[in-house]
Amino acid sequence: MGIERIKSIKDLPPEENVFSGTPACAGCGALLSLRLTLKALGRKIVIVNAAGCFTLLTIYPYTPFANSWLYTAMASAPAGAQGVRDALDILLEKGRLDPEEDLKVVVLTGDGAAYDIGLASTSGAIYRNLDFYYLCYDNEAYGNTGFQRSGATPFGSGTGTTPPGSVRPTGTELPKKDLFEIWRSHKPPYLATISPAYPVDLINKFKKAEQYKGPKLFIALSPCPPGWATDPSYTVKLAKLAVGTGVWALKEAVYGEVSHTIVPKKFKPVEEYLKEQGRFAHLFKPVRQEETLKKMQEMVDDYWKRHQLLL
């Protein structure tokens, strides 16, 4: 395909579209995902936001964005995107808006809204083939309210609502929902998982997505230092480890056809990723939960075996 791909980090668009001085936590992986995403999308966008950590980026009278912004509610950002996109199309059709003034419509949401409360609204927007981008900053829990289990929380993670205790030592006992596959079943033109630690991969995915009209999903695994109980300086390293251990598969799907964009040559043990994080500390202390750790490694292995990338 005739898309210009970037080759190295030196080719990243220099323009900054989300400015510094936000109230995001130090080392916020989601903010890094957003910063790279907005480099890719440019300024001619309107962000339609669902309740989450990033709702607090715009606090009257300040905004860190160079573009427009509309906060809707937790459950219905895709429906807000529908209203904005349809209205822009109506204005363009009726000659009431200069085509130069047109905007891309971007839903910005955390995993709580994306995987749980906003799922019906999301499904509706994909079904209606709405032309929009959807960025889910996935920190694997309800981060804005502290750190409680969401549909994105992985098996074995401790959270505020799934605390590991003497009777239930595991933490979250359900596996992470597969949002990528939920989207894929709707057959939209473009889906991708991204990581703030792989900016070249991230930018190229947006470049590829650009050529498709319709729903375009980007799920960014975004380390959350307060929730994951990690050092803020460790965010990028942790995001890399998630990919290097196979926990976070970097992939895309064009009209449902899946391909992996970055596959580690040799997978590191999942434990290397887990042991760095406070949310998994209970798996190692006071006693090592061998069964749980084994199961977690198997879940990752099964994924890659299913895709015939782990032999």
Binding site: F65, L70, A79, V84, A120
Partner: protein, 406 residues
């Protein structure tokens, strides 16, 4: 102008068509569905140049309608009952966005138990949201109110969304003669929408609905909504004058029926007011100086007009087709609050009737007037009563027996 036999739902659809609405996100719910089906058919046949989108829920529907309105198009949507409640979160949001969305609500009682028929707990639950509310008695009024609603809320002094309310079944599916105005006349009254307030575009980035931390900021924005709503009282009067000039029909915030010399007054809203008016006529024939006050604009609440209309009356019965569980009639409280400092305030009683479409019979209206007369004569009268006849009670006993719940 042509006169047609239209249901309330069809009259609503005509109002939307004549307002040349750009955008209609929709979701079906009884008894509102006929409105969106009618609009969908007109759009499919090329009679309307609007974009119609079927949404996944009322929550999504109201979000899309409000977001489109914020982007600068004339938007419309409609709902009923549980649908209104499912979208309820977004009522506050859309009002806070300060966008002129017009929504029709076809009133229906709320579950549980399930019913399809009318009362006003649905729409009155929304009375504090920031949406203005016009309540209609007739099908003609439904059509007219939609045109007036756009003119009112698109005014830069108001910029708040609005609900135009009608009763399910009693109005939604009842055919009445309705004058359908010519499009040119409507355009004189309601020019094409040219918003200045909100418009997402590349050259003018704008953040809408941002966080306002700190109570003083929040209070400022909330109170601005209140002031906008209060301002709507003044703008509404102008709209009524302009409407009458163009179409010859007179509307006000309230409507008095045989009210001027009345001693005993019923306060009502919506289509049951017609029953109330007939009861007033019958009472007059029996020599009772009866009258009726119909509330048409419920938000903003036309307190001064109501005060003027009721001051000096001997006794007033507010008939609420709703029940605030644990309190009683909702409108009774609103009316009482605007009379409480009046020196010549009337005795004020609350009657709850017509829940879930239950009829209010001539006998029950007679009972209300008897109670008012007794109260004025100094006899003890219950301050709040449910209208429920002996026959209805006997029927309930019979049904309970069948259900084995004696």
């Amino acid at each position: 102008m042509k006169k047609e036999m239209l249901t309330g739902n069809a009259a609503a659809a005509w109002g939307v068509r004549l307002a040349e609405v750009d955008y209609i996100p929709a979701f079906p719910v009884t008894p509102q569905t006929e409105i969106i089906e009618t609009l969908a058919r007109w759009i499919a046949d090329g009679d309307m140049a609007s974009r119609f989108v079927t949404m996944d829920s009322e929550h999504s529907m109201i979000t899309a309608a409000g977001a489109a309105s914020a982007t600068g198009v004339r938007a419309f949507t409609a709902t009923s009952s549980q649908g209104l409640l499912y979208g309820f979160e977004m009522l506050y949001a859309v009002a806070g966005w300060r966008v002129p969305l017009v929504m029709v609500n076809v009133s229906r009682g709320l579950s549980a138990p399930i019913t399809l028929e009318t009362d006003h707990n649905d729409v009155l639950a929304a009375r504090d949201s920031g949406f203005l509310q016009i309540h209609c008695e007739t099908c003609q009024e439904v059509l007219d109110s939609i045109l007036m609603a756009y003119r009112l809320v698109e005014d830069e002094r108001v910029l708040l969304p609005i609900i135009v309310n009608m009763d399910g079944f009693y109005l939604s599916f009842t055919r009445e003669p309705v004058e359908v105005p010519n499009l040119e006349r409507v355009r004189n009254f309601l020019p094409p929408y040219q918003p200045k307030h909100a418009f997402f575009k590349a050259s003018q980035p704008m953040a809408q609905s941002v966080t306002a931390l700190g109570g003083s900021l929040y209070s400022y924005f909330k109170y601005q909504m209140h002031l906008g709503s209060q301002k709507a009282l003044e703008v509404y009067k102008e709209v009524c004058v302009e409407f009458e000039k163009e179409f010859g029909r007179h509307y006000d915030t309230i409507e008095g029926y045989m009210l001027d010399d009345a001693d005993y007054v019923l306060v009502m809203t919506n289509s049951f007011s017609t029953l109330g008016k007939a009861a007033v006529k019958r009472a007059r024939a029996r020599g009772i100086k009866a009258g009726l006050l119909r509330l048409r604009l419920l938000r903003p609440f036309p307190a001064e007009n109501i005060q003027r209309a009721l001051t000096g009356k001997r006794a007033v019965a507010v008939i609420d087709q709703n029940i605030s569980v644990g309190k009683g009639g909702i409108l009774h409280s609103d009316v009482a609050s605007c009379l409480c400092n009046e020196k010549q305030r009337p005795l004020l009683f609350s009657f709850i009737g017509g829940l879930g479409g239950k009829n209010i019979s001539p006998g029950e209206f007679e009972f209300i007037f008897t109670e008012l007369i007794k109260a004025v004569a100094g006899e003890a009268v219950e301050p709040s009563q449910l209208l429920y006849t002996e026959e209805e009670w006997q029927e309930m006993v019979r049904l309970k027996r069948i259900a084995g719940k004696e």
